[in-house]
Amino acid sequence: MRVTVIDYKAGNLTSVLKALRHLGAEAEVTDGDLAPVEAAERMVLPGVGHFAATQRLDATGLTPAIRAAIARGVPFLGICVGMQWLYAGSSEAPSQPGLAHFPEHCTRFSESREKVPHVGWNSLEVRLGSRLLAGVEPGEFVYFTHSYKAPVTSDTAAITQYIEPFASAVERGNVMGVQFHPEKSGATGLKILGNFLSWEGASC
């Protein structure tokens, strides 16, 4: 299967590409060329770093191309900042809009005695019926590293507790996002990426 991985120069893509290829995907990278997005069969938007870096998606014209691909029903997975970008925006860069596929905003973890960023392996409470997280059992762990997070809503596919409950995965139709790094989450992470790669598309 072919996957288009979008490079917007927010950190390195090596780990994501390696994991996708390990699972048998043919992964191609685009960093501004619209043609691969227009022809995409499946898309991954990775991202480690600052929400402001998503400005590059607007500057290169990728944002409307991605929106169109999503409207066509292309399965889409956002990882970390790539998930946050699916929301209306983030308090990390208030002037930079997100895709607003989900209407809420991402915010920083509340002040507490706990450390921010949230770094390390944490567990998932998977909501019933998640296709992305199918087969993930209670007590499986995934690797996080982030300071901002999405709120729990009806689109939330998994909840994780750190300082407060937040959406560690989101899923609606062909659009999915994970706050954690499946490419760095051992067998559990590969299972999740595998679910994304084998997802056949909306049944409607």
């Binding site: 770093g49 770094v119 392996w121 750190y162 051992g186």
Partner: protein, 259 residues
């Protein structure tokens, strides 16, 4: 619940894993890629590869080692040793590392932390600090000194202050090695680890001195560490991360199990 991380550390010299006490009397302990894969399989939450050669000639060997090690590794992978510029870091990331660890180069040029953080994000920058208590000082913890060159030369900085500066410049984690305890298997320096962990808002990885399960329980409790690095305890089949974590779980420490 966020778990405490057990990190396997591979000291690499000339493309081979080595083990010594306080950086001398090195013993060959295998191939880095094989060892890293084994640690991941046996439950390590993260792998750190430290190139202790760190010479100019060794760069190509290191990048090749990183590439081979990263190929089949699907847990976080940090690489340190000889990273002196953002370009050096970029090469190591391209080879497959998720984080770089900077030490003496960051002391010589603290802007290096800012530069790598700006390009790759704070989560990708670990600042490693080699620390020694100052037994002459009125407060040996507050006045603990940063050392370079494998613990031989004082850098003229206090540990806690340098950790704070590293955080302010954009480090995502601190890897604190007690040079007094390193390789001794007499336990982590819990007082010093706690002092650093309380001084910064980013995770602190404790290193140096692991010998028993109790040492880990101590450093996660009293030492307030977020993660702990174990080198000698894992080599030569002494113990696996999984076995260590099973013992830690019995002692009430939250760890990633099953793994």
């Amino acid at each position: 619940m966020l778990t405490k991380r057990i990190i396997a550390c591979l000291d690499v010299h000339g493309g081979r894993v080595v083990k010594g006490v306080q950086f001398v009397d090195l013993i060959d302990a295998g191939d880095p890629a094989t060892q890293a894969a084994r640690h991941a399989r046996e439950g390590a939450d993260e792998i750190v590869l430290l190139d202790i050669t760190a010479t100019h000639e060794g760069r190509a060997t290191l990048l090749d080692t990183v590439r081979r090690t990263a190929r089949e590794l699907f847990v976080p992978f940090a690489v340190g040793g000889g990273i002196r510029s953002a370009d050096d870091a970029a090469q190591v990331f391209d080879a497959g590392a998720d984080k770089v660890s900077v030490n003496s180069a960051a002391l010589a040029n603290p802007m290096l932390i800012d530069a790598i953080g700006r390009s790759f994000g704070a989560q990708a920058v670990v600042v490693a600090i080699d620390a020694r208590r100052d037994p002459q000082a009125a407060d040996p913890i507050r006045d603990a000194q940063v050392f370079v060159q494998g613990g031989r030369k004082p850098a003229g900085r206090r540990v806690v202050e340098w950790a704070r500066e590293a955080e302010a410049r954009g480090a995502g984690e601190i890897l604190l090695t007690s040079m007094d305890s390193d390789g001794m298997r007499t336990g982590f320096d819990c007082e010093l680890t706690a002092a650093v962990s309380e001084a910064v808002g980013i995770p602190v990885i404790a290193s140096g001195g692991a010998g028993t399960v109790g040492h880990f329980t101590d450093v996660f409790g009293r030492g307030k560490a977020d993660a702990a690095l174990a080198a000698s305890i894992f080599h030569f089949g002494i113990s696996s991360a999984r076995a260590l974590k099973e013992e830690l779980a019995k002692a009430g420490v939250s760890v990633r199990l099953p793994c």
